[in-house]
Amino acid sequence: MASISDIALVTQVAVFHNKQAFDQLVRKYQSPVRRFFLNQTLGDEQLSDDLAQETFIKAYVNISKFRGMSSFSTWLMRIAYNVFYDEKRKARSEEIETSAEDSPIANKTVGSGSSPLTSGIKMDIHAAMALLKADERTCITLQLIDGYSIDEISKITGIAENTVKSHLKRGKDKLTNYLRENGYGG
């Protein structure tokens, strides 16, 4: 269930279109949403911020559809996930059309730009993330970085719980191998 303060803020936005209340929601959730996109795009800060902005705008426009059955953050992350996959589809179709440059999403040089996650271990995280398939990366970041349960990941991504478990298992195996090869874990 959504927390009471979130519900109060969402009610203010949905009923009275109180922008101050929405401002508080954006301030509260900008960090996890932008971090989610940074991990999905392997550290592309500009693209992450654009996608995060689109996510919040979609949340604002559709806020009356939030029923409070799950937490506001789960609902918001579901929008973020859909925004990311829409962008990915769009990038893929553009890629097919032009057949020239690489997809801008999750295909960039790891750790490029001035991402807030670009120092030391953060670069390693993006390098490790680059080894994973998109769904594996989403499930891994949602569980290991954002702390969502399998049930919540299933709600966010719309992927069946068993499939989420498979993605997590495969992703963790790949990451464990990567970390061992790079001298982590003794």
Binding site: F16, V26, S31, R34, R35, L38, D49, Y60, G147, G185
Partner: protein, 132 residues
């Protein structure tokens, strides 16, 4: 082995999980780009205003019709006719009223009173609280 791997992954992602990204004007940019959406309250108030205007229009039409067709005379006639009818009905009843006694079962009276004073208010209260 599984636990050891999990521990290693947990440690690896620990710092990333704690990472808080500074706002750095992100919220302001989002707020500037928010589209104007028609508030349900605004839409509701528009409907309410239209409904009030329609009510006002109907009242004005009714008043004009009342004045044009001498509404007061019609009402007075109705009242006078009604009064005469009531007096006539009373007269007829008094003249033709039955002289024989009607026996009333006290239990029927108790049941009727119970129905009217207890059951009906209870049901009304129940339905009202269900809808509110």
């Amino acid at each position: 082995m599984e636990d050891k791997n999990d521990m290693m992954l947990k440690q690896f992602f620990e710092q990333a999980a704690k990472q808080q990204i500074e706002d750095n004007g992100f919220t302001e940019r989002v707020m500037i780009n928010l589209p104007e959406v028609n508030s349900p309250v605004m839409v509701d108030s528009k409907v309410r205003r239209l409904s009030q205007l329609w009510t006002l229009f109907c009242v004005v039409v009714a008043l004009v019709a009342f004045w044009v067709f001498s509404g007061w005379d019609i009402i007075e006639g109705l009242f006078t006719g009604g009064k005469h009818m009531l007096i006539n009905a009373l007269e007829v009843f008094l003249i033709t009223a039955p002289t024989t006694e009607i026996t009333i079962n006290p239990w029927v009276v108790v049941l009727l009173l119970g129905f009217v004073l207890v059951f009906l208010p209870y049901q009304t209260y129940r339905k009202l609280s269900a809808t509110l």
